[in-house]
């Protein structure tokens, strides 16, 4: 088989100069193992890697862990600092670079004075993932040249061009424009550099979803139920979900004529409509999203656990990783795998929600352990009661290295009334048969 492959492999490596030969070989063998015909397999591999080679990248399409990138962009924000690398103070700059397709954070590992507004061509940069975001790294092998100012849109245009619905806002956005309704609002006093400042925090919603927001400037007239339109708001990460940050440079106005909007206060604040789990997995993180599915497995670590009284870490045998031997306290949680036939996600329930779902209090569960003298008894009992059951949950989801996870804020038993659904499905079957 290998000998027959050689000419094809040659052809591919010639076409994809910058791609590692072993990688191509592995890909090819993998496709062939699926009994994909050789010509098809070659086509697939070419398609997959060609984009890596041919096109100079737009900032909006950058993916983590690519190298040899060439981009044109304008500096939107920059800060200079020094970091300690192996005992040496190294000056670096970090900030935001953008073009008409998007913006991304960058780090410049060279001592070079760049200014906000500079239009640059950067060759041979690479990307990494940093705090869930793609970050562009400009190292000592990169080449930076200045471009003429007209070749890129202005700073103002760039920060005000990205209009999105809340559902579509992700970590790959840095600045966004949107129109949404305030459904929650709190005032919080914070100390910044010994001065008291009031921060507004709350939740925005539209017909596609909800996102938390923070404002460091007072917002005249903004209250629950008001629709606001904003431009150039900053997207940050807040507990793994995107959050909208409004500051002095954000332009914001209250929308008075709300008749033509696709949402109202009632429809936007209602998050009880479940979404297919596969839609969540495409997103880095989502705020207050609802799903329904079957509990198809319970992960170990469900049941009664012991936590460190100082740091709340889960501990075993009263030994905390950070605080040594401690007198732990009991807690109860459920880590369930919920699957709705489109995909699966780990759902984490705290003690209060676990007690509801499990149907017994933590004290009753502790009794089970005492009576059986087995730590696993509660876990086993939970599995017996819960596996196969339907569960609805609402909470924030995140997609991290630990896999997709949703931390539940509320739980419910999905509506079991089937008459309408059966009726609709039968209609659908008939429609196809006779129509």
């Amino acid at each position: 088989m290998d000998n027959n492959l050689a000419p094809h492999l040659d052809e591919l490596t010639r076409a994809l100069e910058n791609v590692d030969e072993n990688l191509i070989k592995n890909e090819l063998e993998k496709l062939l193992s699926y009994r994909v015909p050789v010509e098809e397999a070659k086509r697939t591999i070419l398609r997959k890697y060609k984009s890596n080679v041919l096109y100079p990248k737009n900032i909006g399409n950058l993916k983590a862990n690519s190298k040899g990138l060439e981009i044109n962009g304008r500096i939107i924000d920059i800060q200079n600092k020094t970091v300690n690398v192996k005992g040496e103070n190294v000056p670096i700059s970090s900030g935001i670079i953008a073009d008409s397709t998007g913006a991304c954070y960058f780090t410049l590992w060279e001592d070079m004075s760049l200014n906000i507004g500079d239009a640059l061509k950067i060759k041979n940069a690479y990307t990494r993932k940093w705090q869930n975001r793609v970050q562009l790294n400009i190292g000592n092998r990169s080449e930076i040249t200045y471009l003429s100012d007209e070749s890129l849109p202005s700073v103002d245009e760039i920060t005000r061009q990205n209009k999105k619905k809340l559902f579509d806002i992700s970590f790959s956005d840095i600045y966004v424009n949107s129109i949404a309704i305030v459904v929650e609002l709190y005032h919080r006093e914070v100390n910044v550099k010994n001065r008291k400042t009031t921060v507004l925090e709350g939740v925005l919603a539209d017909e596609t979803g909800k996102l938390p927001f923070t404002s460091w400037t007072p917002l005249e007239g903004v209250d629950i139920g008001k629709v606001i339109q904003f431009e150039g708001a900053f997207v940050q990460t807040f507990k793994g979900v995107p959050s909208i940050n409004i500051n002095e440079s954000t332009s914001l106005e209250i929308v008075d004529s709300t008749e033509n909007l696709p949402f109202t206060y009632e429809t936007a604040s209602d998050t009880s409509k479940p979404v297919p789990i596969k839609n969540i997995l495409n997103k880095d993180g989502m705020f207050e999203v609802s799903i329904e599915g079957n509990i198809i497995s319970l992960r170990s670590g469900s049941g009664i656990i012991t936590r460190c009284p100082t740091c709340n870490r889960v501990i075993f045998k009263n030994k905390c990783r950070a605080h040594g031997t401690v007198e732990g306290y009991h807690d109860m949680r459920i880590k369930a795998i919920l699957d709705d036939g489109t995909s699966a996600i780990t759902v984490i329930l705290n003690r209060e929600l676990s007690e509801i779902v499990y149907g017994s209090s933590m004290y009753e569960a502790e009794d089970i352990i005492q009576n059986t003298l087995s730590q696993d008894a509660v876990y086993e009992d939970m599995r017996r009661r819960l596996i196969g059951k339907y569960l609805g949950v609402c909470g924030n989801s995140s997609n991290t290295d630990f896999g997709p996870t949703l931390v539940a804020k509320s739980v419910w038993v999905p509506d079991g009334s089937l008459d309408d659904r059966v009726h609709n499905l039968l209609k659908r079957l008939e429609g196809v048969n006779y129509g």
Partner: protein
Amino acid sequence: MVEREVAQRIFAKEFNDSTLNIDPGKQVDNNSIYTPNFLITPIGTKVNRVFVVGVVTEVDNIGTDNNIWRARIVDPTGAFVVYAGQYQPEASIFLSTVEIPAYVALVGKARAYIPEDGNVYVSIRPEEINVVESYIRDQWLVDTAELTLDRIDTYSKAISTELKGSDLYDYLVQNNVPFDFAEGITLSLGYYHTGEDYIEELKTAIKDCLESIDVESFETSSDEPDIEEFLIEIMKDLDEGKGVDYGELIDLAQEKGVSEQTVEDAVSSMLSNGKCYEPKIGIIKIVS
């Protein structure tokens, strides 16, 4: 992080009609440790993990050391065959102790056994198995009907394009069909050549499933279920674990003004729709 394989909702008919098994483990390939084994059904569903709710009707202890359990889990379209061996100790214990019949929820991996004669025997290797209430079975039927119908629609659309191979795959992916399903349809089309006949067959099976639920929900409006509920109450009172003597049941019902004929009709209807069964002749027991 390797993404968890979704648990497909699939009826026994579609599952058992599958003969195309993709087993990357058979190929020498270092990358394949994360590439799971999967079954491609006649309409292109790529099945690795399944979630099934049905009635367990048979459990047999087979194998030389008596350590393999074979069970049949039945839905309205057919039966899933389940094998639990020494590496599925919890499922084995469950199957060895479960009372038959009972509604069970099963999560497991699709397996295919292909002996020399070229036949393909598909089965499920359990990961989780548990007793559930009957309403979960009904909900599963509706979920599965809906998802299967969605897949049929996508498959029908795929064959109507008359595309093949990677052209079809590209077309499907561009039309927001998930990668796995696009791959499954492309592979299945080249293998089964499934046409309208089979799709109609599958649709009829789905219809039967849905109607089996509808019948029950219509019954709640007639007076029949009142008698059934009444009998179930009596049986719960009488049952001390081994079931209820049929004669005793009739006597008690007659005392409360229900004729022998009505009880007989109700019991035979309950026997046929699986709400109760006869562990021994003359003994009736409710399916819990």
